[in-house]
Symmetry: C2
Subunit: 198 residues, 2 copies
């Protein structure tokens, strides 16, 4: 068998030196095997919280997947699942050999978060997002048309919905979709356009 790779077996050499670098982080990450919450979820939540609270600064490095796996005594796959989810959520980023880095600012407010959807934001925070449609109608509205800088004859889909996190109403949204540009939005609707009152 040509196991010609990986210096597994070099003892705990890396831990000894590098552990100090991540001492602060490692001390704050703990897994509870008794709860029903999966390991990777616990980690996601804890890391996200550390970032939100500023204990993990933007731009700083997280332990490598292998290192954290060894430190927490879980498999690399579990760490990877956590890191991957956070990478997908653009909370972490990867830099070749540079490892995994924190991308979001500690307290990135709404201005940054609004690049993500509400649902995505909620899921990152470990909440279950849902949505309740209050009304939907196809309208013509000159004011909105002017905002979009398009002919005032364009029709818009007007949506009002409540956004919930864990079943609790957190936001109310009113949205106008330009049906000329996004016709798929109107699919399945059987509502005739009507004139919007001024």
């Amino acid at each position: 068998m040509n196991l010609s790779m990986n210096n597994v077996g070099l003892a705990d050499a890396p831990s000894a030196e590098e552990a100090t670098r991540f001492h602060g982080v490692l001390a704050k990450l703990q897994l509870d095997p008794l709860t029903s919450e999966p390991f990777y979820q616990q980690l996601k939540r804890q890391i996200h919280n550390l970032i939100d609270s500023g204990e993990l600064a933007a731009g700083s490095n997280l332990p490598s997947e292998r290192m954290l796996a060894e430190a927490l005594n879980v498999s690399r796959t579990t760490i990877k699942r956590c890191y991957n989810d956070l990478r997908e959520a653009q909370v972490l980023s990867t830099h070749g050999r540079g490892g995994t880095q924190i991308q979001a600012k500690p307290n990135a407010g709404v201005s940054a978060n609004r690049l993500k959807g509400f649902a995505e934001d909620m899921r990152e925070r470990g909440m279950v997002p849902s949505s309740q449609l209050l009304s939907q109608e196809v309208v013509q509205d000159r004011m909105i048309a002017s905002i979009f800088d398009c002919p005032s004859v364009n029709t818009f889909l007007r949506l009002v919905r409540v956004r919930l996190g864990d079943g609790i109403p957190l936001a109310r949204e009113v949205a106008w979709y330009d049906l000329t540009l996004a016709p798929h939005m109107g699919l399945g609707l059987h509502i005739l356009a009507r004139q919007m009152p001024a």
Copy 2:
């Protein structure tokens, strides 16, 4: 060793019978080991295409992870990664022993899509979502408070933003976030609450 589970080793009994059920699906799924595109990506793409084209009808079943893995001669983990991604995108759903089912209609309209965020919806359609913040302010508003069924002294974050797909403005949204319930939304903002004009 107490390998007291899984009838692995019962030969290809399941395949023989069940393969006919999924004959159409299995015949259309093929993995190319030569391309650089990962297996799970190839599968995601192919399954998504089959759904879009209507060859896989909404509500119908997909082969179980184990079965598809065996049929394509890959590990269950690889199939799972594909299925999981599609589940997260709400394209597939899971039903206990019932297996994995196709959830989205080929061209589901807004009424279904509004359970997802704008960004997610865009990404599924292969467009690049972005957002432009027009205004953000912390306000008190009795009308909104009554909608949320909460004390009228609660403060809200009022956002106006334009949603873009591939750089084209597709929607305008006005959102009110209840800062009492979602304080993290206001982090990083230095805007004093002001009274909302009636």
